[in-house]
Symmetry: C2
Subunit: 262 residues, 2 copies
Amino acid sequence: MSAAAGDKAVPTAALLIIGDEILSGRTVDANIAHTARFLTARGIDLREVRVVPDVEAEIVTAVNALRGRYDLLFTTGGIGPTHDDITADAVAKALGVPLDNDARAVAMLKERFGVEGLSEARLRMARIPRGAELIANALTQAPGFSIANVHVMAGVPAIMQAMLDALAPLLPSGRPMLSRTVPADVPESYVAIEFEALQKRFPDVVMGSYPHQRDGRYHTELVLRSRDEARLAAAEDAVRAMVMDVEARKKRTPRDEAARPG
Amino acid sequence: MSAAAGDKAVPTAALLIIGDEILSGRTVDANIAHTARFLTARGIDLREVRVVPDVEAEIVTAVNALRGRYDLLFTTGGIGPTHDDITADAVAKALGVPLDNDARAVAMLKERFGVEGLSEARLRMARIPRGAELIANALTQAPGFSIANVHVMAGVPAIMQAMLDALAPLLPSGRPMLSRTVPADVPESYVAIEFEALQKRFPDVVMGSYPHQRDGRYHTELVLRSRDEARLAAAEDAVRAMVMDVEARKKRTPRDEAARPG
């Protein structure tokens, strides 16, 4: 249904979040929204997100399902020095390659900690699947890595974001998805029929409706998305005209139903 | 690996978030953390989260994968009155049942809007898979629904939360997962080896390590989780003793490595 779905020139991506702490509710995820915006701005379509626990078999299954289905797979979490950090093991297993003590990663750690500071725990962070490229960043001594179409990053948001920035020049990019938001001062159901008709008139512009509450009243945001500036502008004009019409009609009816959602 | 994984008495759950707006980064998800905490408090293990776009085939595939694998599946999003709300259609298709104009849902909508307010768009929200039970709530006229082990809720956080509360008495519950957090005033790598040894000593207590930054220094939170209060207490004592020991040892070394992450 999505206009982008059929567009072969648009790179697709999935995000795999590895972490018991998200599934238990202990930590509120911040990586989905950041990654989504980062990819959208580069014209890469984020098509799926999964969150799985710190269980090797679960990670292996998810990595293989997602790397096979999308052009790019990003993972976050599980690359630190403690025993619950098993992402490198799982990715090596998923790709069928050995997990090496990577000389480049050891050198990075040595630079930060000195030879005497290179403890067994820190050396754990130099275990990298064979054939991977390292993802360095300014914040942490533990590198991420890229192997095939899988990009493995830290879970701590600031570190993850630095790694994503480091990856940026190496990623493919597509024509960016553009979007316009048309606010409507009525609940969704007031515009639904007309909005659907406009979606049919502009099948190449993805149209979504998002209700939200403000001051105890329900409002609607109509979001239009397309990679074609001209088509998007034409659709926006049509949606704005429709909304003005619906709002004017509503003003003429005495009963205020905006206090009700929907 | 997780201690909970083998516990057959603990209900498992997945959460499926349906929404282009999350994948584009336009909307920051709030439903994962709320659902995770809600389920954790009831002793239900949230084992997987997926976010998929507003595309029927994607929703059908995810619903079938997740409802088959976990005791409970919760979905959020896509049950409003507009054309992009296709969750009811997709769930009906996934379960192989027809989508009816549900008389109970029509009655709910009539109660709210009156007969004259029952527009075509609003009636769309009465389309419910045959055999489902409705999930009412105080905020919205559009009901959610439960069919088999699938619980379909709204995407707007306040409405989703009300629906989850309405569902609560009907859900199974397990022995709640208990957790203790032991703060360590050192980077993760300082405790990694000892922490792993303690994980081996308490294999029935799930132990995770979470680094965080405060005042430019890296600290660590060691999180212990178990359904057994006594074992959790014993593990906590052991971890606290280990952390005190590591912190004391660190104070004796002149070089401050805490400014470095990891």
